[in-house]
């Protein structure tokens, strides 16, 4: 990968709270703390994996970065431009460079539009091409994602799940973005199709020097595609490290439990594994525990974990952990 060390995206203390209204006069009675103060950066050309279980705030993080939600507080810098305070035409210009691929290839394509209209729409909206030129660009884009350009007049329902996801990828590529947020792009697909899409995303990254934020709950696929990985739990990042470091030596008890819960397609290796089975469920993000978010399910929690929130600190070079006891697990 021809990446350098230039930081493409920087997220500082990002907070996204969704208000809860109750009663006749719709007074705000609380907030769902979907994202509660997270910081990370992404270098140009790299893939950052963002993993966590449902409701941990990983998709909200993606959407807030693209300013699809107005963040409650915090900053997002893309190519050193502050996105949070960007408005109107300036924001529109930035949006060209940042695109998204969605989870559900059935719901994210308009069933009444042809493939050509779907893939060509961003070109039209952003006035980068007209008429004949759109048709040519669309045909080229379909070729890039390995779809037959002759299918351009077909509707989404005429395609299989994997083909639809290719249409979604072509649409994301239309404006030649430098950054793509892949929000669970393969979770809705069959096992044999998942590898096709992941391979396609990797080829495109190499070809166009793309930068990915790859949001997923499948830790095996994230290990395969990412260079660095961040683990989220209940609105906060609990651990962030280079891919190999994180999987070889997870320092946060949640990451350890999460990794040990992933089934391995190998009965011999699976039987030998040490399992940490977490008790109970994830608490509600509307009323998260005090101090460390994970303490209610943590096997090593102590009194101080309830009193203060552990700082997200660099325990080893490039390895960030939000746990008071991270040092215990360094081998």
């Amino acid at each position: 990968m021809n990446s350098n060390n230039e930081t493409l995206l920087r997220v500082d203390d990002l907070v996204m709270h969704f208000p809860i209204y109750r009663g006749v006069i719709q007074r705000q009675v609380g907030a769902v703390r979907a994202v509660d103060g997270i910081s990370f950066d992404i270098k140009r050309g790299e893939t950052l994996g963002l993993v966590g279980e449902s409701g941990c705030g990983k998709s909200t993080t993606g959407r807030t970065i693209l300013q699809l939600y107005k963040p409650t507080s915090g900053q997002v810098h893309f190519e050193d431009v502050d996105l949070v305070h960007l408005k109107g035409e300036a924001m529109r210009q930035m949006r060209r460079k940042m695109q998204m691929i969605f989870q559900d290839p059935y719901a994210s394509l308009n069933p009444r539009m042809t493939v050509e209209q779907i893939v060509g729409e961003p070109l039209m909206v952003h006035n980068v091409a007209t008429g004949k030129e759109i048709q040519e660009r669309v045909a080229h884009l379909l070729e890039i994602v390995n779809l037959n350009p002759a299918f351009k007049d077909r509707y989404p329902h005429e395609f299989s799940g994997g083909q639809r996801q290719r249409i979604g990828v072509a649409r994301a590529l239309a404006l030649q973005p430098s950054f793509i947020i892949c929000d669970e792009p393969i979770s809705a697909l069959d096992v044999s199709i998942q590898a096709q899409i992941v391979n396609l995303l990797e080829e495109l990254q190499e070809q166009f020097n793309l930068t990915y934020l790859f949001i997923a709950h499948d830790l095996s696929m994230v290990r395969h595609i990412s260079r660095r990985v961040a683990v989220m739990y209940l609105g906060v990042i609990v651990e962030l490290a280079d891919r190999d470091n994180l999987y070889r030596q997870p320092l946060h008890p949640y990451t350890q439990a999460l990794l040990s819960a992933v089934p391995i397609p190998d009965p011999v290796a699976d039987a030998k594994r040490k399992r940490t089975i977490l008790e109970g469920d994830v608490p509600s993000p509307a009323n998260p525990p005090s101090g460390c978010r994970f303490r209610t399910r943590c096997p090593i929690a102590e009194a101080r974990c309830a009193e203060s929130r552990p700082e997200f600190r660099e325990v080893q070079p490039g390895h960030f952990v939000a746990c008071f006891f991270a040092e215990r697990f360094i081998q």
């Binding site: 279980e53 449902s54 299989s160 799940g161 994997g162 083909q163 069959d190 096992v191 044999s192 199709i193 998942q194 590898a195 096709q196 992941v198 391979n199 990797e202 709950h217 830790l219 095996s220 696929m221 290990r223 395969h224 190999d244 999987y247 439990a257 999460l258 990794l259 040990s260 819960a261 992933v262 089934p263 391995i264 397609p265 190998d266 009965p267 011999v268 290796a269 699976d270 594994r273 399992r275 089975i277 977490l278 469920d281 994830v282």
Partner: protein, 329 residues
């Protein structure tokens, strides 16, 4: 040969759709031994769920139609049974859990009411007895304050807890077979680990046989003793779990395993991908249904559909090719 608990022979099920008749299950035969856990793997549309629903008489007809097959359970053919008779077997001797615990529970009835119903219906317990047993069952599946929580409605339970309720319900009449259709697919991995752990514990305590349907080869590796791999409405490979993962022999199984990255494995390079997508069969094929996607495909594969044949005593595949040599078997 030990007596089979469930013996399915030559099952064929089709569905009428506006596009034509879909051949969902095309002659599936398998056996289930007492106390055994059988994994059934395959992608969506491969016929794994339809096979089990056919056995249980749960295929809606029309559009579905069971064209052929027998399923012997303690000497009786489930498929030729009357509706009333099979209803006595379902829920009593054969328990079931499904993928989505929210849609399988009635949202307007309390958990207690739903747990008590099969106990009163199948075992003839009184309301009082059923209520006590229901509380026992809930605590058996690891739900704290079971007695109080009987009064709750499904929406007051989390996804993992709802699936625990489903398991409690399926086990309430101590069935000999538990059929679990993708029971952990809608759950997060840490909750999936809890549920798999629970089912394994209950299996050892109660000694029931389990048929566990899933698309996840990792889950199968963790729970099953023997595995059926399905594709296009056929069983294409059958082996013990160890043998299947150590010596996968059907090109489809090999491809699936190759396309799965593992958490415990370093760099793999490019993932192996099976081109194309799973078929929808409007005709019973007279060729191998995997041939269009197979990289070992030969002339014969287009002319004859292979049948399951042994490669070793406990390991059978439906394939004309020996993938180790690339030549005909």
């Amino acid at each position: 040969m030990p007596e089979l608990l469930l013996d399915v022979q030559g099952l064929e099920t089709t569905f009428k759709t506006s596009e034509g008749t879909v051949h969902a299950v095309n002659g599936v035969s398998f056996g289930l031994k007492e106390g055994e856990t059988l994994g059934v793997v395959g992608e969506s549309g491969c016929g794994k769920s339809v096979t089990m629903l056919s056995v249980l008489g749960l295929i809606a007809s029309p559009p579905g139609k069971l064209n052929a097959g027998k399923a012997f359970f303690s000497g009786q053919d489930l498929i030729s049974m009357k509706k009333e008779e099979i209803r006595q077997v379902r829920g009593a001797q054969i328990g079931m859990i499904f993928q989505d615990p929210m849609t399988s529970l009635n949202p307007v009835l309390t958990i207690g009411r739903q747990l008590e119903e099969p106990l009163m219906l199948h075992i003839g317990m009184t309301k009082q007895q059923a209520s006590e047993r229901a509380a026992e069952l809930l605590s058996m599946v690891g739900i704290p304050n079971a007695k109080d929580r009987l009064k709750d409605y499904p929406h007051q339970y989390s996804g993992g807890m709802r699936q625990r309720v489903m398991i409690a319900m399926a086990l309430s009449c101590t069935p000999q077979i538990l059929i679990a259709d993708e029971p952990t697919t809608a759950l997060d991995v840490t909750i999936q680990a809890q549920i798999m752990d629970l089912v394994k514990r209950l299996r050892d305590e109660l000694g029931m046989a389990i048929i566990w349907i899933t698309h996840d080869l990792g889950v199968v590796a963790g729970i099953a003793q023997r595995v059926l791999v399905m594709y296009g409405g056929y069983i294409i490979e059958e082996a013990s779990v160890k043998d299947l993962f150590a010596n996968p022999s059907h090109p489809y199984t090999v491809g699936l395993l190759g396309s799965l990255p593992r958490v415990d494995e370093k760099e793999r390079g490019k993932l192996y991908s099976i081109e194309g997508s799973p078929p929808v069969l409007y005709q019973k094929p007279n060729y191998c249904p995997f041939a269009p996607r197979c990289r070992w495909v030969m002339e014969r594969c287009w002319k004859e559909n292979p049948v399951l044949e042994p490669v070793s005593p406990e390991h059978r595949i439906a394939c004309w090719v020996d993938i180790k040599t690339g030549r005909p078997r």
